[in-house]
Amino acid sequence: MKAKDWPDQVYETLKGAGVRQVGYVPDAGHKRLIELCRADKQLKSVVLSTEEEGIGLAAGAWLGGARSALLMQSSGVGNCINALGMMQECRIPLLMLITMRGQFGEFNPWQVPMGQATPGVLTAMGVVVHEANTGARIPAAVDTAARLAYGSYQSVAVLISQAVIGIKSFQDQAAR
């Protein structure tokens, strides 16, 4: 399997980890993975109106005996801060897969503050951060993050680098 097929491998990793619910706010970097999850009738794929809802979803799933994963882009991390406190206080596992913006070659300056603050914000709220900087490394990072989250009852985030996702250029799109 090629590195660019990381979403397919991550999907298999999530299935292997016993994930039954996937909450998401769409991001271009998660497009393929969301499609794979939505096509799987064994998974409950839940489109969220804001990322914070995904923390509640994950907490409820765990109370009900189900494992989950939460997909978002880095700008959504800020929306989750207070709710993350619940996961720490209750020791409820949380597995977040976060595609990065505001990082390598970002064109939209409004994405930069939250993107740059993302690891620090997560760490401040007790979330363990795993960074994956190449497509080839993402599946293994998700696998170890799932093991840490569900083996040791931790909140764990995998940050998928913008170097993997690519740079969204509105200038290029506007010129076309």
Partner: protein
């Protein structure tokens, strides 16, 4: 004009003979209300995460489709997570009910008026988001039907129950989040939950 409903009586009526009902309560007054009706392991009263009660109910309802799930929360808590009504509307969990105990106040912070005091109609929001039923309730005579829907009707159901704005003695559940989670899971999932 009939006497206004009182929150503790409403919650006690809805939880009467609750059997295996799974209950999530929003932080503040509704957490005290469900505790006053009986502190049992299948209660998950929140002490934080304001705005998230309905979503916790959704995750639980999707994980346990054979069980009935009830979220009881306040108007202030529901207003902070209005988007979750749209999210629940997409999922259509037949086993989930959301009941807002609406005193039109932020009860724990000085009884300041919430948006519902100016008429924000949460039941119409829920209906517009695709809930199977959504109503405003002002009379005790409607509570039996609501209880029946919570325990057996095809949901998702929503009710906004208008109650008297009153300060009542606090009836506090345990505060330890780890304890609340573990006792809930053990009561629902059995001893195997401790080895998960």
């Amino acid at each position: 004009m009939k006497a206004p409903l009182r929150r503790r009586e409403v919650v006690t009526a809805l939880l009467k003979d609750r059997s295996g009902l799974l209950v999530v309560a929003g932080l503040g007054s509704t957490a005290w209300d469900i505790t006053a009706a009986g502190d049992v392991p299948l209660n998950f009263p929140l002490w934080g995460a304001m705005g998230n009660a309905a979503m916790i109910g959704l995750g639980l309802a999707l994980a346990q489709p054979a069980r009935r799930v009830l979220v009881i929360t306040g108007d202030g808590e529901m207003l902070m997570g209005l988007g979750s009504l749209a999210t629940i509307g997409v999922q259509q969990p037949a086993n989930l009910s959301v009941v807002v105990i609406d005193n039109e106040r932020y009860g724990e912070t000085g009884m300041q008026a919430t948006h519902t005091a100016w008429g924000a109609d949460l039941a119409r929001v829920a209906l517009a988001c695709g809930f199977k039923s959504a109503q405003q309730i002002r009379a005790a005579g409607k509570l039996a039907a609501l209880r029946a829907a919570i325990h057996g009707g095809k949901g998702p159901h929503f009710a906004q129950v208008k109650v008297l704005a009153e300060k009542l003695p606090l009836v506090l559940p345990p505060r330890d989040g780890g304890l609340l989670k573990s006792r809930f899971r053990k009561a629902l999932l059995g001893g195997r939950s401790e080895l998960d």
